[in-house]
């Protein structure tokens, strides 16, 4: 089966769903071809409702965004300040 690989980073508390990982630590993840962000979250065990901001290569994307492979995926709960 063809797989794609992405590099995932989680922040601001989402790391609690990945017991072995620290915030910001790159995590390589493999998904089946045409895997989406939704599939990625499912595989990592991160509840969808905990994720507010999804950046793929620094651009905002929705949950149903289809990954191509090689992307840097960054996941955040709601954050803000100034």
């Amino acid at each position: 089966m063809i797989v794609l690989r992405v590099e995932v980073r989680v922040f601001s508390g989402l790391e609690k769903f990945l017991p072995q990982k620290r915030f910001g630590e790159p995590l390589p993840v493999e998904l089946p071809e045409e895997g989406t962000i939704k599939d990625l979250l499912h595989k990592l065990g991160i509840p969808e409702n905990q994720v507010f901001t999804i950046l793929v290569d620094g651009r905002h994307q929705p949950l149903d965004y289809t990954l191509r492979g090689g992307e840097r995926v960054s996941l955040f709960p709601p954050v803000g300040s100034g």
Partner: protein, 576 residues
């Protein structure tokens, strides 16, 4: 009875005067900017006898409205040459409001050299000699004043940088623990205070939440509702209390708009090492605090207490400062950042401006990028008043001129903060056009550009940025007049009941019948007043532009330039 405290530093007379009707329902920025526009000649020398320093609590400050203790400090800025309102947390705003003081107005300039301290208590106001405080850092001045006048007093003060009239000097006041770290930092207003020979203002008020309210029951209900609106919002109620303002470091980095190496790159490989998550971890491990309120009654508590290896405490380390001394200088160690932050607080300099200035000095090769110890040594020159110290204290634009640097991130002479305008273009519009000089708080488009609060506008495209910045600049000018912290905007932008509840609190307090539309009109009027002052001071549309390199150099990783057209920028204030 609301009153102004007018302090003539030429004759060293202090007067308490009634507030003219036109100022009665103004507060914070609306009041400081109106008073400056009415009383300060726009062409005056900012450090001469005709400039004034106006210090005002917001409309809601000193009441039980949550997170309403912000302080506005205004005048003509020595850094920009235009009008300035610089906004601070800390405990003095609430105290001034509880003493019935709508503003303290410092004016004139003494002919001799003596230094003074203004003491404000429920029994009256007086100027006391303060030559013994000269040359001392703000932490020591605050400690001495708390010892001398009681540990509950609020102390507004300047450091040696303000005494030496450095253009990047700020005006500080303390939090409830006595940390003199709550700065009205931007625009060099510390030098204005220094030019008048005033070292400190001590505000002693036994009350914090009892400013007069016309309809207490109605006010209480509205304030309670507003508290709940803040607590229900995930950013205000959870994100800010958990990680503080520095929670932004990682998201701004991942979005590729974190200015790195003096605005050369949009990402820093050590960003996670200096962000809010790491800061919270270290602060807790060393017995500090990951959450801390800058003034009583704040429900967001976005500050922190960071114990440093030398035993001192830097409280707080904010995002903008962590960026200015971190990624901007390619420094990846929080302890170095905290040390630079502490020195700025003590000597009395704005951290954003100083970070930009050190970035310019690194660009010039005076000190190497990434060299934290060299940055600390350079910053220590400021208190000594050496030529290098004075250049650092003069701000990024001046330092750029001295060293012949063209890559100077400044607008109207004021350093650009922690979001690159090429990959957060809404903020670029704000930096270019706000009457304040480059200022992220004046129209914080990071909300819709990056944080997806109050809608979404693609940060990499020019479309929609002018309208976004315009609306935010108007709303912010109004909000800065209420004394509410700007961060309430995260809740207000996404909750339709937010703004009406703020208006309800104001109406209950002042017996007015303002509407939401009146708030918009207030914001527009503040901007109009400020723009007029700047025009009279000599500013033109040519001043509403970013530095050249943002139009010519691409910013990795998105490889974008700033491309909002000049004629678009000139339409930001088309409501006038």
């Amino acid at each position: 009875m609301a009153r102004f405290i007018r302090v003539d530093m030429s004759s060293r007379q202090v007067k308490s005067e009634n507030v003219a009707d036109k100022y009665l329902i103004l507060g914070g920025r609306a009041l400081t900017s109106q008073l400056v526009a009415d009383e300060v000649p726009a062409t005056c020398d900012p450090l001469g006898p005709f400039n004034k320093l106006v210090i005002a609590p917001g409309l809601l400050s000193g009441t039980s409205a949550p997170s309403s203790g912000r302080l506005s400090v205004g005048g003509k800025s020595p850094l920009t040459g235009g009008i300035k309102e610089s906004n601070a947390g800390g405990i003095t705003s609430q105290k001034l409001a509880n003493l019935g003081i709508k503003a303290v107005i410092l004016e004139g300039k003494p002919a001799d050299k003596g230094w003074f301290l203004l003491k404000i208590t429920p029994d009256g106001e007086e100027l006391l000699p303060a030559d013994d405080l000269v040359g001392k850092g703000t932490y020591e001045v605050t400690a001495i004043c708390r010892e001398r006048f009681g540990d509950k007093v609020g102390v507004i003060t300047i450091g040696p940088a303000g005494e030496m009239l450095m253009h990047a000097a700020g005006v500080t006041n303390n939090d409830g623990d006595g940390n003199s770290s709550r700065y009205a930092g931007r625009g060099g207003l510390g030098a204005v205070m220094g030019s008048k020979g005033l070292k400190a203002i001590v505000v002693d008020s036994p009350k914090t939440f009892e400013a007069p309210v016309k309809d207490p029951e109605r006010f209480k209900a509205a304030a309670k509702k507003f508290s709940q609106i803040l607590l229900d919002n995930p950013t205000c109620g959870k994100g800010l209390p958990a990680y503080g303002t520095n929670v932004l470091m990682n998201i701004i980095n991942e979005a590729g708009t974190l200015p790195t190496r003096n605005f050369k790159f949009g990402r820093f490989d050590k960003a996670a090492e200096v962000g809010g998550e790491k800061l919270a971890e270290v602060a807790k491990a060393r017995g500090g605090k990951a959450t801390h309120a800058c003034h009583p009654g704040c429900v967001m508590r976005c500050s922190n207490v960071y114990p440093m290896p030398d035993g001192k405490v830097c409280a707080p380390v904010e995002y903008e400062t962590a960026w200015a001394f971190g990624p901007n200088l390619e420094i990846g160690e929080l302890d170095v950042i905290a040390k630079l932050n502490y020195i700025c607080n003590d000597v009395g300099l704005d951290t954003i401006e100083t970070g930009c200035t050190l970035g310019v000095l690194m660009e010039a090769g005076v000190i190497p990028f990434g060299d934290g110890q060299a940055a600390i040594s350079a910053l220590e020159e400021v208190a000594k008043g050496t030529p290098l110290g004075r250049i650092i204290g003069s701000g990024s634009a001046n330092a750029g001129k001295v060293y012949g640097v063209t890559r100077v991130p400044a607008v109207k002479g004021q350093g650009i903060p922690a979001y690159d305008p090429r990959a957060c273009k809404g903020n670029g519009v704000t930096y270019a056009t706000t009457p304040m000089g480059a200022d992220h708080t004046a129209g914080y488009a990071v909300t819709a550009n990056i944080l997806k609060v109050g809608g979404y506008v693609n940060p990499l495209e020019p479309a929609g940025q002018v309208e976004l910045s315009r609306n935010l600049q108007v709303a912010t000018a109004a909000l800065d007049s209420t004394g509410l912290c700007l961060f309430v905007a995260f809740a207000v932008l996404d909750n339709p009941e937010g703004l009406p509840t703020i208006v309800e609190m104001i109406n209950a307090q002042y017996g007015t019948s303002l509407t939401v539309d009146d708030v918009t009109a207030l914001g527009q009027n503040v901007l109009k007043t400020e723009r007029q002052f700047n025009q009279q001071a000599g500013f033109t549309s040519a001043d509403d532009r970013l530095p050249e390199f943002f139009y010519n150099e691409e910013l990795p990783p998105h490889n974008t330039k700033f491309d909002v057209k000049d004629e678009e920028l000139d339409r930001v204030f088309n409501f006038q």
